[in-house]
Amino acid sequence: MMNKLIFGRYIPGDSLIHRLDPRAKLIASFYFIAVIFFANNWQSYAFLAVFTLGCIALSKVKISFFIRGVKPLIWLILFTVLLQVLFTTGGNILWHWWVFTVTDYGLMNGAFIFCRFILIIFMSTLLTLTTAPLELSDAIEYILRPLNVVHFPVHEVSLMLSIALRFVPTLMDETEKIMNAQRARGVDFGEGSLVQKMKAIIPLLIPLFVSSFNRAEDLATAMEARGYSGGEGRTKYRKLDWHLKDSMVVVVFAVVTILLILIRN
């Protein structure tokens, strides 16, 4: 079930993109998502597509991976595109029936939205495929740090985040195990009517919650026994280092932005 999910997974590797500082990657991906909305003509989208493909090539991860990452979302994307195509007014009318109008302007907009979706998914997949979850949570902690001023519990949030990330695979394994155990006891998951399907989830959900509670209790005890007493006065084992290549990312993105502004209408 989870095997098909590529989006949000990490593939260990050793490429330029893998070695970048996670803060640089995180900020760059968010920035890219913002910047993509500047694009408004063919040339600018083509430019961004080339740039994205360049980044993917640098990561040495197969492009088929990214395409597979889009697959689960393809219907949502096509639905949005279809709405855009059918309901946009303005420009030359090519086809008209009842409330639906297809115009050349609408078609173009649909195509742009399609590109925008794909590029955003590619970029965020690139981030998660090349950045280990713990690196990501370190980066988020660093970026959120200024919020300490307004008494936002940055340490607690980032601790929760790293624990949550650490336990995602463990919980997935556990889910799989319990599912198998219940299947062996005659439960059919995902078969029958909606009500039957919902009922079949109970023997999975309850043990999962119970084991999460037990796990949380054990983990809290183990942390206290090892002297954890909150964020105050802690040192860090994993230190993030900002190198020249990370500064280069900033420069590259600045150049991309300037070029984009020149290219757009």
């Binding site: 095997n3 593939i11 197969k62 991976f65 556990e174 195990k177 319990i178 198998n180 155990a181 219940q182 299947r183 062996a184 006891r185 005659g186 439960v187 059919d188 078969e191 109970i202 023997p203 309850i206 043990p207 119970v210 084991s211």
Partner: protein, 287 residues
Amino acid sequence: MVMDIHFEQVGFTYQPGTPFEQRALYDIDLEIAAGSYTAIVGHTGSGKSTLLQHLNALLKPTSGTVTIGERKIIATTDNKNLKPIRKKVGIVFQFPEAQLFEETVAKDIAFGPKNFGVSEEAAKALAQEYLNLVGLDASYMERSPFDLSGGQMRRVAIAGVLAMEPEVLVLDEPTAGLDPKGRKDMMEMFLRLHQEKNIAIVLVTHLMDDVANFADYVYVLEKGALVKSGRPVDVFQDVTWVQEKQIGVPMATEFALRLQEKGMRFDRLPITADELAEMLLAGGGVK
């Protein structure tokens, strides 16, 4: 119907066609006869758990054929109508206490039988019967499974699988994490079931003493391939080979080996304490 399980050239790959692809089993041929007691051993990560999930079609082979009773399971078999198999082949997974979920012990044990179409009343009677069998009295019937101790939860979970009255019972390290008495009680209970009800047992374990004491036949797995099979007496004779595979030898065998180093002679190495004692009493061992 006789429930034989038969593996023919079974191979299995996790997540085929992705970079996470992982080959877990290679061309496994094995046979589990009705009413037999089979042990499957191997180092951690040798594919034991993957193999046992093939025994009731939780996993389907990516190559080869698994025949369970009359049913042939191949890569393209669809997931419908596998219930009859699951009823005949019960699996007790590692740490089965994690599968408890009902409000009362009685309901949880009756859950399996009810899924296979046993009536409410009959299921309750089964729950009572198997709760006794695993060594808990009727006062536990209406208690919440989550109030029990770890060992008691394990018993309830096992009773839940036994209540389906399977013809083949697959046990994945059933005694892991139990105290010595609990371990002994449980292994003896399985042996009783095997002898009295003629249930075939497949035991996956790291404890070679259990293999020596109970199993009629043993399969040794290494890195997803079957490297040896035979009666435990024969498999454990080749001590150096067994130790090379990091699966260990029974205590009695190890002890006999030490005696041999001190000059005693054995025609063949004993694998259980009783066997060793007999050999020593017969005097055949003394130089």
